[in-house]
Amino acid sequence: MEQEGTNVLYVLPEGFIAEILSRTSPRDACRSSVVSSIFRSTADSDSVWERFLPSDIQLILSSSVSPFLPNFSSKKEQFLHLCDNPLLIDNGTKTLALEKCNGKKCYMIGAKELSIAWGDTPMYWNWPSRPESRFSEVAELLEVCWLEIRGKMETRFLSTNTTYVAYLVFKFKYDASGFDYEPIEVSVKLASGGRPKHGEVKSVYSKRPEETEAEGEVPVKRKADSRSEAEVPKETKTDSVPEREAPKERGDGWMELGMGEFFNERGVDGVVEMSLKEIKVLWCISGLIIEGIELRPKENL
């Protein structure tokens, strides 16, 4: 800001510029790379980008089962790849991706790794593989009157000092029914050292957005609507009871429903448990496909 100031590049060795840039963020580093040629070489350097990668990245990569992992020419390239291409880990039961703006970890626990009530009973749940899923199998609900899904994750794998939000990632099939009777109960709680620290139970809507406008107590079947299940409307309206959450489009063909959040401070030996249930009314529901539960850092800058 001061006009008479000194050009930083005459004073500080490049190592310092790298140290300074590594304390900013991936986004800031990218912007810095157009400042000048020295800034560019530093802002693109491995010494800066390895600080944006999780510290246990080598361990994660070695446990990856992703078939086509390119040979990265730089840490920056590796970072950006991991932002856009979730890495299959733990024998393909989970994926890891990085948040582009801050490098924080984002996990998805595949349906197979969740405990789904009656999930093993072929009469109720089917396990097809779907091309649009990152996992080899997804859970397809045929019909059930007791919907209960639980998942857990050790907090030591998550980024520290970070508020995470858990989302159920799913979609409705064209013939989905039974989802507009009762709100679904979701909860996320952090259990560390045996005592739950933070838990909340809230109810959310699960039903398809286009049905929120239809009154009626009977599930409204879309008449002669040849809409494919992948094309769910963009908007999620909850005009009727606005304070309750409803599912949102993810942009990858799936929808997501917020289940709750928790703050992972140091990630020491805790477990976070997510659950979702609709067991009060015992209506029969059907036509739901579950990809998994995602744990994603809450939006921040």
Partner: protein, 184 residues
């Protein structure tokens, strides 16, 4: 507090006095002291008399604990805190007051122009004063965070040294990035 005095000589031959406890905030000085080379003056050929008093001021404030705050100071006691659920609330409050006070001090301490920032950073690196290095690097990082390339150039007095063609390419890259990030 021990009152043993240490003498430091700046690059421009000026001598400054500092308490031994304060001097130990610097890893480099600590090693010299522990190495027993205490007679006479410690020459610091990389630190000028403009910056040395500023360094000494920091060391005085952080003498003994190396600037890495509370935790180390009461060693084992702190570990018990983790296990016992009902640790001393009063102690906690005092700690908070101390931390707040230190933040305020740091804010005032760090109020200087860029040349001092760079020199202080170099001195902190040379003298291995981790707390001070962190503080200065952090300040420089805050001059980049959330800024546009132009603002960064201005903050650090840098001129773009790209050729017009490169410049054009840069602008494209920049736009591309902005679009990508905006999507998040």
């Amino acid at each position: 507090m021990s009152s043993t005095k240490i003498f430091l000589k700046s690059s421009d031959d000026k001598t400054f006095e500092i308490d031994e406890t304060a001097a130990r905030a610097s890893e480099t000085l600590k090693n010299i002291i522990d190495g027993g080379c205490l007679d006479g003056v410690i020459p610091l050929p990389n630190v000028s008399s403009n910056i040395l008093p500023k360094v000494i001021e920091y060391c005085k404030k952080h003498g003994g604990d190396n600037g890495s705050s509370k935790k180390i100071a009461n060693g084992g006691v702190d570990k018990d805190k983790e296990i016992l659920p009902d640790y001393d609330e009063e102690e906690d409050k005092r700690e908070k007051v101390r931390v707040d006070e230190l933040k305020k001090w740091e804010e005032e301490y760090m109020d200087f122009d860029q040349q001092v920032l760079y020199d202080l950073m170099l001195a902190a690196n040379y003298l291995h004063i981790k707390g001070l290095l962190d503080l200065t690097v952090e300040k420089a990082a805050s001059m980049i965070r959330g800024r546009t390339p132009d603002q960064i150039r201005e903050n650090f007095n840098i001129n773009s040294d790209f050729t017009p063609e490169e410049e054009e390419e840069m602008i494209l890259i920049e736009d591309e990035w902005d679009d990508e990030w905006a999507f998040d």
